[in-house]
Symmetry: C2
Subunit: 259 residues, 2 copies
């Protein structure tokens, strides 16, 4: 099977003009087929504040009321996505910006209200990659914003890590998929105060152990859940690294391993 | 050749939820291949005001400074485009939202400064429809926002009527293209105070005559210039109508004719 690399970038990397351009240079230099999945939370929070829309977060997740949904749709699918697409075109990659609504790529269900009403947040229901693969196979580079749709006309805010994992899983039936979570740190850290304390390989049971003992906490947990899900679904390689890791050919950072 | 219908919608039609849904129902009901090109100026003006970005218009054209470019990128490619894409998906059309940057569809040059500095406004330079046609031929419905790119990493604000005309012209080599400009009025009026005074057919020389005598003024002039350009470039049929005209099978309103 042909190889494809899915890079998820988020955090400051994607929202600082200089680091974004550097990242995109590294991304374009990756060999073979590729997809970029991006976040944009900082810009969304900033624009929301400018519009007088209050940002409410619960456990790192954005509560998405109707006004917030408009903001994230504007910022993720408009501002951040098209900025990346135009930059990639300038670097010679034929990019196309997509959300889960485009080409019916990722359909989701509005998260059921239990203890918390997350509002217009989507849990991935199905991934449809037929038209996406036609584009990819012509060397088009999809740039995916963290939004899905419910099939009833509504956009839904969806975690970018989850979208990358869902896409990787769906494509694993057709390609040898490398999934790279690219963020600020060198990898998953065994000590949050030591940026060099990178855990080089992580199995699911070791992850669960580290989670129990509090070595791995907060934002890393859903990222790793998503990474291990992808691995279970046949994704060939999942690693968590920073932009330097992209330069180093995807072998640095933390590599997730089956037991 | 296969037939394709390009509908350009703008104005209130696309920015009022009820009229948008009605329009999309009529659009989906059109037989055969199709493309939707949309505006979104009213929403852009509203969001700009909320963000404290001043809207400056010269002869109906938006002066697009860097802050305004951010607003139109958010509103056109994000808010308006994805709302339409999600709605079309709900109505059974496999829509994909695109700007001129996506798939390198429409490249433009920043308008040279003469008397007026329009800022980040793009004049269409080239149209590249290879990947677009692959999508169209799989019954995907492109939804095009009025933005282009300069090939150097910048998005540019571009008139939606012009984009529709440029797309129609490029596709005329491969399809029998119908181009429909859909707006509030029944067609081009011979008397701006009489909504029923529709000019049924218009040749280029009659248009120029009406322009000289002041029968056709302001916003209609660039629309008609774009329409006649399309006709000259081999587009089969160009007409200007309202949403009722879409229901009536594209034979109502004002039909542009070669001499």
């Amino acid at each position: 099977m042909q190889e494809i690399t899915i890079v998820k970038v988020g955090g400051k990397v994607v929202e600082t003009p200089e680091s974004l351009q550097e990242l995109l240079n590294d991304f374009v230099a990756l060999p073979g087929l590729k997809i970029l999945v991006h976040g944009g939370g900082r810009s969304a929070t900033k624009i929301a504040a400018q519009l007088g829309v209050e940002t409410k977060m619960v456990e790192g997740r954005r509560i998405t009321d109707l006004e917030t949904l408009k903001v994230v749709t504007m910022v993720y699918a408009g501002l951040v996505n098209k900025n990346i697409v135009a930059s990639l075109q300038a670097k010679g990659a034929n990019a196309v910006g997509l959300t889960g609504a485009d080409l019916n790529l990722i359909k989701a269900v509005k998260r059921p209200v239990k203890d918390i009403d997350y509002g217009y947040v989507g849990d991935v229901e199905s991934v449809q990659v037929n038209e996406l693969m036609d584009l990819i196979n012509k060397s088009v580079v999809p740039v995916v914003a963290p939004l899905t749709h419910d099939g009833q006309g509504n956009m839904l805010n969806t975690n970018a890590d989850t979208m990358a994992s869902a896409l990787a899983s769906a494509l694993a039936k057709h390609y040898d998929v490398n999934l790279v979570y690219c963020f600020e740190k060198k990898g998953v850290l065994s000590n949050p105060d030591d940026d060099d304390a990178v855990i080089e390989t992580l199995t699911h049971s070791l992850f669960k152990e580290h989670q129990k003992t509090g070595v791995i906490i907060e934002g890393m947990i859903p990222k790793l859940d998503n990474g291990f899900n992808a691995l279970e679904n046949g994704v060939k390689k999942v690693n968590i690294t920073n932009t330097q890791g992209l330069k180093d050919g995807l072998n640095s950072g933390t590599l997730l391993k089956t037991e």
